[in-house]
């Protein structure tokens, strides 16, 4: 029964995407409603699978597909895929609600929404398929659909070049991943990710290390780890805001999912351990670099884009500590980052829509003109800095604690500097936009209520997550135990 819900959850966005292609004569509002209903139903189906399956691994469809590699259409919702899948669908749902107000006039809306649904379906499939080949197909479908969204509906003069860069960079990562997966499939004789580990005995330690490096590089590009992040700020700044939100709040975390699923779980923590100091330094560098760039760039959308780089540094840092606390913190941070980054982008999107400006020097005084928006912005900034009563407090202390428990506690101490920088750039952005006098030549237009209410909804979510964090800890704890096989300490 749970299997049916799981299939429904994955199938709905894809079927919806196919159906949306045929809706060329539909009015925009109907296409929006259709997409929202489809993703809402998919989220409900996923929750149904969780409730009915009681968190047990659930295999579905053992139909042979490529018999020589035991490839089958196999879906699995385990402790690791669940938080990522929930994040994808949660972010998708709130993004489509925001898009209701954002896309008031748009070319080819049926194709736009079809691609959005395919993008969401691709991310969901990446989390749910437990077959390496199908995992990769969904991984690629994410890339293709997001690239088409950028080139077709990108905002700015340079969309083609930036999309090409985005495609080339992420495709380079994908090919690296494909190479490693192909190696694994050929060596182990199966593409079933659950069985693959048993066939790894044939892989020598140096080969494992090589595989780990290849996979880390491949997934690192998607995670936008410095210096593999170059595609991100450009792509995020040209994408229409709902697409940016999906890219930042949901798609980046797929890189973390890949690292968890393959190098950490499949190859094992012991394979990664020699790389731990390098990973910790890279993660720390990513945190600091992203935060400092936030202080120097002037385009508010780029500021938030760079903060994604910094936050992904947090996620990688927690994973690289190889401690249960750090890994659980990272899983939790994926969800928190999803909520908070969506909130921050939504707030910035409202500012851009209301004022028609993106350069920070040309903005200010929103506290007087749009007080609720200013408060929303400040809340997003404070929450991102890991302060209670917002949810990032929980993931932050766990990641930092993981750093202290790693084999390199000095790097753990250094990581405590990043929250200070995060507070610095977040509050600076919030105060700079909210305070002072409004520029005389700046007009403020009314924005669609759907955009503001979507942001308020996320504030409620992050507040409730902080006050009642039990489910979040349960998810993260279960995932950490599945990844490292240890208790949370």
């Amino acid at each position: 029964m749970a299997s049916l819900w799981l299939v429904l959850s994955l199938a709905l966005p894809w079927v919806g995407a196919g159906a949306a292609v045929l809706m060329s004569r539909w009015r925009l509002v109907r296409i929006k409603a259709f997409s929202l209903v489809v993703v809402g139903a998919s989220a409900l189906a996923l929750l149904g699978a969780v409730v009915i399956g009681h968190g047990h691994a659930d295999l579905f469809l053992r139909t042979e597909w490529i018999p020589s590699y035991h490839a089958a259409l196999r879906l699995e919702l385990d402790a690791v895929s669940l938080p990522f899948a929930l994040n994808v669908l949660g972010v998708a749902l709130v993004t489509l609600a925001y898009a209701w107000g954002y896309f008031d006039q748009v070319a080819q809306p049926h194709l736009l929404y079809a691609l959005l649904l395919a993008f969401i379906g691709g991310m969901l499939g990446t989390c749910l398929f437990s077959d390496a080949i199908l995992f990769f197909i969904c991984w690629e479908s994410m890339l293709v659909s997001s690239s088409l969204l950028l080139v077709g509906w990108g905002e700015g003069d340079d969309t083609r070049r930036i999309t090409q860069t985005y495609f080339v960079y992420t495709q380079a990562g994908s090919l690296l991943i494909l190479l490693c997966l192909a190696w694994l499939i050929v060596t182990t004789g199966t593409s079933n990710m659950a069985v693959m580990a048993q066939g790894l005995a044939a892989v020598t330690p140096p080969q494992r290390a090589l595989l780990a490096i290849g996979l880390l590089l491949g997934f690192g590009i998607k995670l936008a780890v410095v210096p593999l992040h170059v595609w991100l700020p450009d792509a995020h700044s040209i994408a229409p805001m709902p697409v940016t939100i999906l890219l930042a709040a949901a798609m980046l975390s797929m890189g973390a999912y890949g690292i968890v699923r393959f190098p950490l779980m499949l190859l094992g923590a012991e394979t990664i351990r020699p790389l731990e100091p390098v990973l910790l330094v890279v993660a720390l560098g990513t945190q600091v670099y992203g935060a400092l760039m936030c202080l120097v760039v002037r385009d508010i959308k780029r500021i938030v884009a760079y903060s994604s780089v910094s936050q992904m540094g947090y996620v990688l840092f927690g994973l690289a500590t190889l401690s249960a606390t750090g890994v659980a913190g990272s899983i939790m941070h994926v969800i928190n980052h999803g909520v908070l980054k969506a909130l921050l982008f939504m707030s910035v999107g409202i500012v851009i829509r209301a004022t028609g400006r993106r350069q920070i020097e040309q903005l200010g005084g929103l506290g007087t003109a749009l007080p609720r928006l200013a408060i929303t912005l400040l809340i997003a900034a404070v929450a991102m800095a890991g302060l209670p009563p917002f949810s990032a407090f929980h993931s932050e202390w766990m990641i930092l604690s993981g750093g202290l428990r790693s084999d390199y506690p000095l790097l753990g101490y250094l990581a405590f500097a990043t929250p200070l920088l995060t507070a610095g750039y977040g509050l600076w952005l919030g105060f700079r936009l909210s305070s002072g006098a409004m520029p005389a030549d700046m007009g403020v237009e009314r924005v669609h209520p759907a955009m503001t209410w979507a942001a308020y909804g996320l504030i409620a979510v992050t507040f409730i997550e902080d006050l009642i964090p039990g489910p979040l800890y349960a998810l993260a704890d279960a995932a950490a135990q599945a990844i490292l096989g240890g208790a949370l300490r």
């Binding site: 020589s68 105060f431 964090p469």
Partner: protein, 449 residues
């Protein structure tokens, strides 16, 4: 009966939210804002009968850790009662706090909220919850400063104060996590007992970060810029923030760390530091005596801080309990109704006993105070001020400027390379990888066939 403490905290928080959220409450007469503070302060006296009683309510906020409860410890309850009364004094002090934007309910609500958080932070028995509560209090204070003390330069100054307080928060979090690692528990008493009972003593870094947190929260030089800004708040509001919130909680934190300090070599360092701060205080008093009462409040606060540090040698508990109410009296009750232009005028207008006491102190200072102490104080004060300025402005700004410049250059190089060489390389790598993958797939499928 055991519900008294959580009930009191809840009432303060609820009152704060209601006063801020409901426009009718914000607009009601000021007695409506003041009266509950008196009722609650009177209610808080009942807490004294609860000392040593077990907690009635346990809250498992973070499921994997020990549950948290508000405990009826002797010292914490005593100070909590003082906090409740200090809010009452602040509410009833004249002149009333300047109604921010004609909306006095907002300030009242905010102060009730702060009071609830402070009482909870004093009595909670779990370190992580205390960290969260102290974070919230720091945030609330920064918002107050941003709204009412720094309206003209909201962005930069408020951000500086926030970063300074965040530094203290992070130092405390670091100390707590180290203590957790050391003792395996977040329960405050157990963790501190385990650390102090350890044969090797607590790790030096743990003490260092703990004392850094204490220093920031108490607003001791060179971390006193936020405290000095708080002095600029409307009088009642400023006095309440200075007396009943973070500095007090910092002092209490130091009190809790006493067991670790006494059992370590940090005691000597602290005693020396305390003497320096005392000298700064004395020098400050001499310099600022004829100026505004607000400056004097700053001096008293810092004096309190260094007094606590000094008394870390043994009489800490008694001192913590004594200096706080005294400061309350000096700052809030004794102040004459017509605000004096200077402290000297305030002294002359004060009650007879205090006037004589004050004269005696002045006479002692002017005639018999050791000149060496003055010199030492001047030097220490100059160093503290310069360090503070460096921390507050130069160091932060310069570090960020340098780092930002470096990052911008690095980012520029990356961007430049990415549009030039790296871009080409990545393109080539993609093509080559594509070829390799394709060939491998073909070979594999040929092998399979």
């Amino acid at each position: 009966v055991g519900l008294l403490l959580p009930g009191l905290v809840l009432l303060y928080l609820l009152l704060g939210i209601v006063l801020m959220a409901l426009p009718q409450c914000r607009r009601m007469a000021s007695i409506g804002h003041r009266a509950p503070s008196l009722v609650l302060a009177l209610g808080s006296l009942l807490l004294l009968t609860q000392i040593g009683q077990p907690s009635a309510v346990e809250l498992r906020w973070i499921p994997l850790l020990e549950p948290a409860a508000l405990e009826h410890g002797r010292t914490s309850i005593y100070i909590a009662v003082i906090v409740c009364w200090s809010l009452c004094w602040a509410q009833f002090s004249t002149p009333q706090p300047v109604p921010p934007k004609g909306d006095s309910g907002l300030w009242s609500g905010w102060s009730y909220l702060l009071c609830g958080l402070a009482v909870a932070a004093l009595t909670v028995n779990q370190f992580l919850v205390r960290v969260a509560l102290l974070d919230l209090i720091a945030l609330a204070i920064v918002i107050l400063l941003a709204l009412y003390a720094l309206p003209s330069a909201l962005s930069l100054k408020a951000l500086q104060q926030f970063l300074l307080l965040r530094l203290g928060d992070l130092a405390l979090l670091l100390m707590v996590l180290m203590l957790w690692q050391f003792s395996g528990t977040f329960h405050i008493d157990t963790a501190l007992a385990a650390a102090s009972a350890s044969a090797s003593g607590p790790p030096p870094l743990l003490l260092l970060f703990g004392l850094l947190a204490v220093g920031v929260k108490m607003g001791m030089p060179p971390f006193d810029s936020w405290l000095r800004t708080a002095m600029e708040l409307p009088r009642g509001m400023g006095a309440w923030v200075v007396s009943g919130t973070l500095p007090l909680l910092g002092a209490y934190l130091l009190y809790r760390l006493q067991a670790l300090i006494v059992s370590s070599y940090a005691l000597v360092a602290l005693a020396l530091l305390g003497i320096l701060y005392m000298a700064v205080g004395v020098e400050w008093l001499g310099r600022e005596r004829a100026t505004s009462a607000d400056r004097q409040v700053a001096w008293l606060t810092i004096h309190g801080g260094l007094g606590v540090l000094l008394s870390g040698t043994g009489a800490m508990g008694a001192y913590v309990l004594s200096f706080l109410p005294l400061r309350m009296v000096l700052v809030m009750v004794w102040r004459p109704r017509s605000a004096p232009a200077s402290v000297s005028a305030a002294v002359e207008a004060g009650p007879g006993l205090l006037r004589q006491f004050s004269r005696a102190v002045v006479a002692l200072e002017e005639r018999t105070l050791l000149p060496a102490l003055h010199t030492l104080g001047r030097v220490a004060r100059t160093v503290a001020l310069r360090t503070g300025r460096l921390l507050e402005m130069d160091l932060f700004s310069r570090a960020i400027d340098w780092a930002a410049e470096g990052t911008l250059r690095f980012g520029g190089l990356l961007q430049q390379a990415h549009t030039g060489q790296i871009h080409t390389y990545v393109l080539w790598v993609t093509v080559v990888l594509g070829g390799v993958v394709l060939s491998a797939a073909l070979l594999a499928s040929a092998g399979g066939g």
